[in-house]
């Protein structure tokens, strides 16, 4: 390893990224706007989880506790046939006619079934079997829960495309062929690309985190250093995964397809937007095979539960093993042309 050659590639790659204003702006603005959007969307009375169409005069709604239930959006409707077609198409979960004391649901809609049970249960006069207990402590907002996922997802796109796509572009436009004709070795070139992307990713993640925290104020029960370790280890594993795609691909279109093939299932399986509790156990096991899951679970554990490095050592170990495996495969497969 010749550190002078490594440094030359590293510096020029940094210059290329930092001077590309549009890419830099996008890397910073995208996650900030996403988090801000979630904060705004979920800052009111909360997300209406169910949509119920109500036929007729709103005065007839009075007197039923069902109409005071939170998280149900009651939508006045006048045309029964149109409303029924919306129930059929899952645009409404239930249609209710308070005057006629009737309701309609789609038998294929799980939400309709739940609403039906609520409608019958809320108005029941029997003594409750269960007594209500309250969870103590500060509640976790949805934006608090989703933020580590958004940061990790942004990191994933930056790492995969920032390394995978860029190297393929270099190969396609002849840059790699030119570098091959110099004493620069593949190890020096790849190490410079990985290191450059790593620090740029971590720097943008810190800026995004600090920037959004100013106006959203995330809970942080653990250590910032531990969170940094998680993101750094995660970024290395994602960059290494990008190297595999970049190793031999010569077409930018194919590279984009492969990177999307990796990133979108990973986004779904890692639980960025919703918990995978209750999904098929096979999918839950698959989720353990992708780095994003470990990054998000470890970051959430640190931020929300105050977990230390010992508590998340399983996630860190998984990320390190993946990094080594991906890096070895990427280096082994790599060709200049």
């Amino acid at each position: 390893m010749n550190w002078r050659r490594f440094w030359a590639v590293f510096v020029c790659r940094n210059r290329e990224f930092l001077r590309d204003r549009s890419t830099l702006t996008w890397n910073l603005l995208f996650p900030v706007s996403l988090i801000a959007g979630f904060a705004f969307a979920f800052s009111g009375s909360g997300l209406d989880l169910y949509k119920v169409g109500v036929l007729g005069n709103t005065n007839h709604w009075q007197g039923s506790a069902f109409f005071s239930t939170r998280y149900i959006h009651f939508i006045p409707v006048t045309d029964r046939s149109i409303a029924l077609s919306k129930v059929e198409r899952h645009q409404l979960d239930m249609l209710i006619d308070p005057t006629g004391r009737r309701y309609w649901i789609n038998d294929e809609a799980p939400k309709g079934y739940v609403l039906e049970q609520m409608l019958r249960g809320v108005d029941a006069t029997t003594t409750p079997i269960f007594s209500k207990q309250t969870v103590s402590g500060r509640g976790i907002r949805y934006v608090d829960w989703v933020m580590p996922g958004v940061l990790a997802m942004n990191m994933m796109f930056g790492c995969l495309f920032g390394v995978g796509y860029v190297i393929v572009r270099y190969r396609k436009n002849g840059m790699l062929k030119r570098l091959k004709a110099t004493p620069l070795t593949p190890l020096e070139f790849l190490a410079a690309q990985v290191t450059s992307r790593l620090w740029l990713t971590l720097a943008t993640t810190i800026v995004v985190f600090a920037g959004t925290d100013q106006f959203i104020v995330f809970p942080m029960h653990g250590s910032y250093l531990d969170l940094f370790v998680v993101f750094a280890t995660g970024a290395i594993s994602l960059i290494s995964l990008g190297l595999i795609v970049a190793a031999r691909t010569t077409s930018e279109e194919l590279a984009a397809g492969l990177l999307n093939l990796l990133s979108w299932p990973m986004t779904f399986l890692s639980g960025v937007w919703f918990s995978l509790e209750g999904v098929h156990p096979f999918l839950q096991q698959c989720a353990q095979l992708v780095p994003l899951t470990h990054i998000i679970d470890a970051a959430r554990a640190i931020m929300m539960d105050g977990a230390g490095l010992g508590d998340i050592s399983g996630h860190l170990l998984a990320l390190m093993v993946m990094s080594l495996g991906f890096m070895a495969a990427g280096a082994w497969l790599f060709r200049w042309e």
Binding site: A8, C12, R15, E16, D20, R178, T182, P183
Partner: protein, 294 residues
């Protein structure tokens, strides 16, 4: 004289196609060697094997009598026909990066002077004209003060001024005793720059020598050229070859006086007659044919 770079029975197969078929070359130090050939002749594959970019299927390439190794990488400079440079990086920064790849690099000021980069050295490489870009790529190829310089169609796409300017740069490099291997489609360029040329076709070298020696060996005639409009009925002239082009008629003759007498006898105006010696382009077409290659 010991060859700086030599090949022995160099062969390259690609999926059943024999791109290069047993090439033997010996390039002496300080020589400007031109490799010419029509599209698909195998010259790019040959040059890439000489550069160490591609591995031969069989045969050897030796630099200073040794197989290509780390020293070869440090001693050569390459200017590919089309090389992308990093976006958002200036010419000076590119020179800095490539200079750091080598144990010894020429001072930037020297490269700037040699390749006339002064006016655009600190400009983003995306904003360079074709000629400026080629000069920068030449400077990058020279950054390690190479003993052997590969120039792959360096003036393709340049306007005549930029091309002449580039020739001047190559003359300066030659004057410093550097060895140059040049591929080009411009025969005039090869004639002006090269001390020795090899013409390739179908993966083999079909002619090799100095341009003058090759012309002398293949031709003992001159070309009389007339506009086609002045030559309405191209009747074959006795003992002369007549080639009718789209706009001109060329008469190949060893005896100019007789040919002119025959033209006058047929009342053909000689007002626009041009007489020229045979050129490398004539030789190239004679050896490789006139049909269009893909």
């Amino acid at each position: 004289m010991t060859a700086l770079l030599e090949t022995c029975r160099l062969v390259k197969h690609f999926h059943g196609v024999q791109a290069v078929d047993g090439i033997d070359l010996a390039i002496p130090p300080g020589c400007c060697f031109g490799l010419l050939g029509p599209n698909g002749a195998g010259k790019t594959t040959t040059v890439e094997m000489l550069e160490g970019i591609q591995k031969p299927t069989s045969g050897t390439v030796r630099y200073r009598g040794e197989p290509l190794g780390p020293r070869f990488r440090q001693d050569i400079g390459i200017m590919f026909q089309s090389t992308a440079l990093q976006d958002h990086v200036t010419g000076r920064e590119n020179l800095w990066m490539f200079g750091n790849f080598y144990p010894r690099a020429l001072p930037v000021a020297e490269l700037v002077e040699t390749c006339a980069l002064g006016e655009f050295l600190d400009r983003d490489t995306r904003k360079l004209s074709g000629g400026q870009r080629q000069r920068l790529l030449l400077a990058i190829a020279l950054v390690n003060d190479p003993e052997l310089l590969f120039l792959d169609e360096p003036t393709t796409g340049l306007d005549p001024q930029a091309r002449r300017n580039f020739w001047e740069l190559i003359h300066r490099i030659k004057a410093r005793g550097k060895t140059v291997l040049l591929t080009t489609h411009y025969m005039e360029e090869a004639y002006h720059l090269c001390d020795e040329i090899a013409i390739m076709d179908h993966g083999r070298i079909i002619a090799q020598g100095t341009p003058r020696a090759l012309l002398a060996a293949h031709f003992d005639d001159v070309v009389l050229q007339l506009p086609l409009a002045d030559f309405p009925n191209p009747i074959p002239l006795s003992s002369h070859t007549v080639i009718q082009g789209r706009d001109t008629v060329e008469i190949l003759t060893r005896d100019v006086n007789t040919a002119i007498e025959e033209l006058l006898a047929r009342n053909i105006s000689l007002a626009r007659l041009q007489i020229r010696p045979r050129t490398l382009e004539d030789l190239f077409l004679e050896l490789t044919g006139r049909e269009l290659r893909s």
